[in-house]
Symmetry: C2
Subunit: 396 residues, 2 copies
């Protein structure tokens, strides 16, 4: 039998999805599972998007342009301008979700063996997609006791080697919900300029900021040739399944290379683009309502979470996740036990062990990432279960 690839073996399992087989088995047994593990909102997509899909009048579901429909890219320029992101349609390439945007950006900008600095805990698929691209993720640790703020700039300086080619920031952060301040971004800017690095800025949660301070995009830092914006409609319009993301950059050489990658996989999803395009304009009320809904969920969720003995979560100011510490030694063991063993009136809870969001082995071992994407009544029930589970686990 031929051997599978070494890189495939090295690829870590997704910490968000690797316990899914256990959850599926619990469901098979009739157990109700509350999913705090995954950022799959129960929020409805814009009605305009559904209507656009329901009213397609095409007879042939043909390829779209490799870099996406011009009309979609044009509408996106208007969307971006509201955030001080001044780009042209030609600066935007449409991808099969934010995931493809990340992979393509890595492929186009970084060589195998290059090092990419990432603050940890980080979105776990930065690590898996970097392995796919042969890129080494070097993490700079942020700390729960600092509310996961940007690590001191000296920590970045110390991590830089001759192989360092870029910094990747998720702002607002998945998994911590931290929103980087203009001051922090200006500190990063200095490092990017000093070492002439790529700055990959994943801003898919920019609609979900719960402070009064305006959100500052990396594209507004005046680093035109360094910044590669990674984006997606998945979260802002609750359209995770349509797989429409984008890469935005003004670096012409990067754009030229990206176009080759886009052409190699022919085109992004046609139907998803139709839904995405219909979602961009005239959805102010929708976005405001969704924003307020998440803010209310956050307020409820974090307060209730911190009321559980031994649990600590910082107050996240953006996105819809938090990384919380639990009064357990090994959160993965606890998460597995919740799925395989613990039941509260035939129900249990699924969480993502946080160690998979860290690059340094052993870090975040007592932490979990939780997504507050469910209705408040479901979040309340999920946290009641979590509290009962912790009590039972500790005293078992």
């Amino acid at each position: 039998m031929p051997e599978v690839s070494v890189r495939g073996q090295q690829m870590p399992l997704s910490p968000i999805r690797k316990l899914t087989p256990l959850a599926n088995e619990a469901k098979r047994q009739g157990v109700k599972v509350y999913h705090l593990n995954i950022g799959q909102p129960d929020v409805e997509s814009p009605a305009k998007a559904i209507e656009a899909i329901r009213s397609i009048d095409r007879k042939t579901l043909e390829y779209s342009p490799s870099d996406g429909f011009p009309s979609l890219r044009q509408k996106l320029t208007g969307y971006y301008s509201k955030f001080g992101i001044d780009v042209k349609a030609d600066d935007i390439l449409v991808t099969a979700g934010g995931s493809e945007a990340i992979l393509m950006a890595f492929m186009a900008c970084l060589n195998p063996g290059d090092e990419l600095l990432v603050t940890e805990p980080c979105y776990a698929n930065y690590i898996t997609l970097a392995v796919e691209a042969g890129v080494n993720v070097v993490s700079v640790s942020s700390k729960i006791e600092d509310n996961f703020a940007l690590p001191p700039i000296e920590a970045f300086e110390e991590a830089i080697t001759p192989l360092t080619r870029g910094i990747l920031l998720c702002n607002p952060s998945n998994p911590t919900g931290y929103v980087y301040s203009p001051k922090e971004l200006l500190q990063l800017k200095k490092i990017v300029e000093k070492y002439d690095l790529f700055l990959f800025s994943d801003e898919v949660y920019r609609e979900f900021v719960y402070t009064d301070e305006p959100f500052l995009s990396a594209m507004a830092l005046g680093l035109e040739n360094n910044v590669v914006l990674l984006d997606s409609v998945s979260k802002r319009y609750s359209e995770c399944g349509i797989r429409v993301g984008m890469i935005v950059t003004k670096n012409q050489a990067v754009k030229d290379i990206l176009m080759k990658y886009c052409q190699a996989r022919l085109s992004p999803p046609l139907l998803g683009q139709i839904a995405a395009e219909a979602s961009i304009e005239g959805v102010e009320d929708y976005l405001a309502a969704v924003h307020d809904e998440y803010k209310a969920r956050r307020d409820f969720f974090i307060k209730r979470l911190n009321s559980i003995p031994g649990v600590h979560s910082p107050m996240p100011h953006g996105a819809f996740y938090t990384v919380a510490s639990l009064p357990v030694e090994d959160s993965e063991d606890f998460c597995r036990w919740c799925l395989t063993t613990f039941r509260d009136k035939g129900e249990t809870v699924m969480m993502a062990p946080a160690s998979g969001f860290y690059r340094h082995p052993g870090m975040g071992r007592n932490q979990v990432r939780l997504a507050y994407v469910l209705k408040i009544e479901d979040l309340a029930r999920a946290l009641d279960i979590l509290e009962a589970a912790l009590k039972a686990y500790i005293s078992r």
Copy 2:
């Protein structure tokens, strides 16, 4: 300014799409361009697929499972069984088009620096996607004078080195339209067994075979741990835009690795899967009609093509392409000239220079790949233009 990646620079431009800017410029000038360059059929998708999309009743366009909807994978087992491909739903992983299937299969099975044997001329994106995966494509040449039949098995033996890890066959072939016979497949089987290689079998055109001999899938060769089937609904249901492909294998280790790649990009397109699933059952009449339509187009196209002085095309027995030789020295120059300079009553033709489908430099320089995916009246007009263009080009 930070440098783009070396691998990005090494990535060849798609020979199918690289002349698109010239075509767009011609169209901007009001010129009508007949596209013989790309396998984008003008054939309608099944009405059932469009209807499934038009009648979705979801409110949230959420993630699907990373390996695709179980119901879709189950229906596919029924489809495959009609071709003697005996697989279970768990042997199938749904991808974002056949392109992602190819890339993921390379990533999961091959290491950077590994060699993959491919018959040339080959589908050009095997080369680009291999560059993306760091895999070296080593080509074994088939010849136009042999109608692009399988090269002698000795040529494969000669090409094998200690780095060879797999063979990739496209059957029926894009770009040549050749259908490999059971005898040829059995010859390949011996090599695959002798060297314990992966056999990647791209069979996206299996519905389009115009001989009476039944199509033999590599999955029916009894090489369960070696064969990785690459597939897509794009061509068989004229649904290129929905980006739904699949990888089929019974090798459990490969499946386990592939699942990690699937999870790293979260999920395949939701809406495309809905269209694909609606296309699988009860479309016998549709497929028969499409088959007959392509056969009629082929019969017309190849006969007319060979009637042009100096042009030669073998008779393809499958898919909807042919590689033809033209009475020119440099077909790429001719293809460019057709788009930039030649006009016949304000119309011209776009073709794909064949050299991009060869790995050996200089091969196929006088050849083009042509897709006969247009209505016969459009094909007739396109070939009239080609004949006039050749005459003008040669005497210019």
